[in-house]
Subunit: 215 residues, 2 copies
């Protein structure tokens, strides 16, 4: 059961106690939702894979959708975790990062490890966001309240230092995020079997981005 430490991290397992069977259910649900999708996965299949009676699922989760949300919500928060940390912006302004490039590199490597570790849960989040309006709204709310404002401050900080082009901050934020997310999506979703040299490709990607954004 050691390989499941990541699940406890993801679920913030300190606050809520999970029995072993409950962990089995969540693990099975994540794997099957990621493979076949939420709608195409039946609760009886989840129960079978988890080694549990079907009724046990509904003891812990009122509905199948509840089970989905128990997976999606913590994944959503972990997706933007760096920006939720209080000291994050302070680090930038107190010259923890001297250049935007260092900041981008830190975020990039951090999110690379995150995607690598939690890939199945992230698949579920992104796939089901397309079908469930409530999940999409939650994502947009979190992004606007916790990511966008802080990101904007950081970008404007480096623009004032004359490091970044005088583009609208929205454009710089979008270019930065789609460049990082584009690599991660290509690397882990679209072409996971390609013989990647991750270190080098990340470095090349950052160089392209910085050349594109510099003043």
């Amino acid at each position: 059961m050691d390989e499941r430490k990541w699940l406890f991290d993801l679920l913030n397992a300190d606050e809520h106690q999970f029995s072993e069977k409950q962990v089995n259910i969540l693990q099975a649900a994540i794997d099957m939702f990621a493979e076949k999708g939420y709608a195409a996965t039946s609760t009886s299949e989840i129960a079978k894979r988890a080694g549990v009676a079907e009724g046990t699922i509904f003891r812990h989760y009122k509905t199948k959708k509840d089970l989905l949300l128990a997976i999606v919500k913590p994944t959503l928060f972990q997706s933007v975790a760096p920006f939720l940390a209080k000291k994050f912006v302070k680090d930038v302004f107190e010259d923890e990062y001297e250049h935007y490039e260092q900041f981008v590199r830190a975020v990039f490597k951090n999110r690379y490890e995150f995607v690598k570790t939690y890939l199945p849960a992230i698949r579920v989040l992104w796939q089901e966001m397309a079908f469930h309006g409530d999940i999409k709204i939650q994502f947009q709310t979190i992004f606007i309240n916790h990511v966008y404002d802080k990101f904007k401050q950081i970008v404007e900080h480096f623009q004032q230092k004359g490091e970044l082009a005088p583009l609208p901050p929205e454009t710089i934020i979008r270019m930065t995020i789609t460049t990082i997310a584009g690599f991660l999506a290509t690397r882990f979703l679209i072409m996971p079997d390609y013989p990647w040299d991750d270190e080098q490709e990340i470095e090349r990607t950052i160089q392209c981005l910085m050349n594109g954004l510099k003043a």
Copy 2:
């Protein structure tokens, strides 16, 4: 029925004749698959929305999956349509495009119009590719056979002209595609309600990309 011309274009309706009821079925299926997903949409719902008996669907499509493929396959080909055109690479080599930037701008605007026009069908393709291995393999096959090789020739052409950085062509291709796809995904999927100035934002995006890739 005039607004449906795009459906005929998408389906290559010259080769196969479609009755009106059959077009209704495809239209309803595209819309509902895009909204709720393939697995969460029942054939009885499709029939109701199309104003058709449920049996009529199965007269034309042996299974529900067949109906999905009838939507997905032509969309897949249209997605990479520019690269399927024979004269496409020739245009580049015969100085139809003097600079890589002009080539990128042409592809960008072309795909922008494509996504804008066929958005629901494209949603279906991308959403269901995650769940159906056969669709994903078809996509990868088409990309490798018809897009990658031509794209690589074009990139190497402009590298020899000293216009593009001496990066691996794979990296330049990936950066170009994820930059374009990243904008289109943000524009049409993630934040369709944001007050976009498309012309200007496309131009900014191209400038960032070109600065990032230039020698």
